[in-house]
């Protein structure tokens, strides 16, 4: 437990120390909201699909997706900072602590998720000032959904970080993991819109675990149950975490060379 506390504390201090990162994390979804969504509002007609019970503006539709975006970008960044830790040597300090690796990696994951979730609430507060508000209980109901999604993408990041040798490869991860995961999900368009465009795109969206993260947030925001989304997120979290643990197994040849 002491380890969890100090790892969270370190993560928070580091985050607060990097003003630019904090700002970028907030500005990114706001740009999407104010620029992209405002323009799309006219172009895209949204029909009434669950969990919505009335017509909504595109700005309202996109908010859960942008919450997911914050979690995705932040979670990846925090997990990929493990790559930086490895270059800086601080990774060795973590891995030579007398604690099981699964617990050390879990602490890192939880610390990253907490920071991401706090940022989502900061974003939602700005949305509220802008006039996009939700039921008060919705803000409470999304907390577990946000946390689960944050853990899921964070675990994917940790699994990826075990395979990345240098910080430079982060750009590759951006292009080949983060962007496809974001665009080929229900974050920006509902599934039926995707289906209209192409059946293949729809299938990919359906297979993308990030879609289920976004949907779990969307449904929770309206206090509607979505057990499928939650189940897929939890399943994906378990799979990604297993991959991460395998990636950091000390008996594996690969990792030893890089630490």
């Amino acid at each position: 437990m002491a380890a969890l506390w100090v790892i969270c504390h370190r993560e928070a201090l580091r985050f607060l120390g990097q003003r630019a990162r904090m700002l970028a994390a907030l500005v990114r979804p706001l740009v999407w909201l104010f620029v992209f969504a405002a323009g799309f509002r006219a172009a895209l007609g949204l029909s009434i699909t669950p969990p919505y019970q009335t017509y909504i503006t595109y700005e309202t539709y996109i908010v859960p997706g942008l919450c997911g975006m914050i979690l995705l970008f932040n979670g990846m960044q925090s997990s990929l900072s493990l790559v930086m830790d490895r270059e800086m040597g601080t990774m060795r300090l973590l891995l030579t602590a007398p604690l099981p690796r699964w617990w050390l990696l879990s602490c890192k994951l939880i610390a990253g998720a907490l920071i991401s979730v706090l940022q989502v609430y900061a974003f939602l507060a700005i949305c509220a000032l802008y006039g996009i508000t939700f039921a008060p209980l919705g803000y409470v109901a999304i907390l577990p959904a946000l946390f689960l999604t944050a853990l899921m993408v964070g675990a994917l990041g940790i699994a990826l970080s075990s395979t990345i040798k240098q910080l430079e490869n982060f750009a590759g991860v951006m292009n080949f993991v983060i962007f496809p995961m974001f665009f080929l999900s229900t974050a920006l368009y509902p599934l039926w819109k995707m289906a209209e465009a192409s059946a293949l795109l729809e299938t990919i969206c359906r297979l993308n675990p990030f879609s289920y993260g976004v949907e779990s947030i969307r449904f929770a925001l309206y206090m509607a149950p979505n057990p499928l989304a939650w189940g897929v997120c939890a399943g994906a979290l378990i799979v990604f975490m297993a991959l991460a643990l395998w990636g950091y197994d000390p008996a594996k040849r690969m990792i030893g060379r890089k630490i």
Partner: protein, 238 residues
């Protein structure tokens, strides 16, 4: 047996054999210099001793704990200073200490006491509030040694800890760690390629191309040791 005990360790990276049947031991209170040129396998050995990865065969025992069977017991008795710095540059000296304490399960008052005692021992207490980035190389190294001693380990491993330090700082550090071994009964393994860091009365393990060429009490010191070492590695390399 307590202290550090390495038995017949073999490890390879792909087709390249990095360590080949390495055996040696360091008793409590002993300063053991692990002398070897670059590429001798010192860093691989340190990775194995700290269980960053596991050996293909052989056995490592730290303070009576088998590293493969009881890694957490072994790690809790080990203090490590890696060749590459492992400090958080943007956090203060004090925060770095507390972070480490937390990883070792030391919290609250106990952590603060342990941190200030450890800093005091290395003469770093007045720098506690400074940011690590603002410290010079010598102070950073001292901080790392202070930190490695915070959880009262029985074995202290240092991988070329004097790299990049000036002559005075280097000899101060060497003297300090020698003192730690004699005063506190710590078993010290000091990896280096610099013979002037080795004192008479130390134990010496010469590692070359992954094999132990010689081990025992230091036969000679200073320039004579350099010559002895060169003869040893050259005759082996030929």
């Amino acid at each position: 047996m307590t202290g550090l005990n390495v038995e017949n360790i073999t490890h390879d990276w792909g087709a390249k054999r990095a360590l080949d049947g390495v055996s040696f031991s360091v008793a409590p209170g002993q300063f053991c210099a692990l002398l070897g040129p670059n590429g001798a396998g010192k860093s691989t050995l340190f990775g194995l001793l700290t269980r960053l990865f596991t050996p293909r065969s052989g056995r490592i025992e730290i303070a009576g704990h088998d590293v493969s069977r009881d890694p957490l017991g072994a790690l809790s008795k080990t203090g490590v200073v890696f060749q590459q710095p492992t400090l958080d540059l943007d956090l203060s000296v004090w925060r770095n200490m507390l972070y480490f304490a937390g990883l070792h399960g030391i919290t609250g008052r106990a952590a603060r006491v342990a941190a200030s005692e450890a800093l005091d021992r290395l003469g770093m207490e007045e720098r506690a509030r400074e940011r690590v980035r603002d410290l010079n190389g010598g102070h950073r190294r001292r901080l790392e040694i202070a930190r490695a001693l915070m959880h009262r380990p029985e074995v202290l491993l240092l991988d070329e800890p004097t790299v990049g330090l000036d002559a005075q700082t280097r000899s101060d550090l060497v003297a300090h760690v020698h003192g730690l071994a004699t005063d506190t009964g710590l078993a010290v393994l000091w990896a280096t390629h610099l013979t002037d860091e080795i004192w008479s009365g130390d134990r010496l393990v010469v590692l070359h191309k992954g094999r132990v060429l010689e081990q025992g009490p230091v036969p000679v010191t200073g320039a004579a040791l350099t010559e002895h070492f060169l003869n040893l590695t050259e005759s082996e390399g030929a």
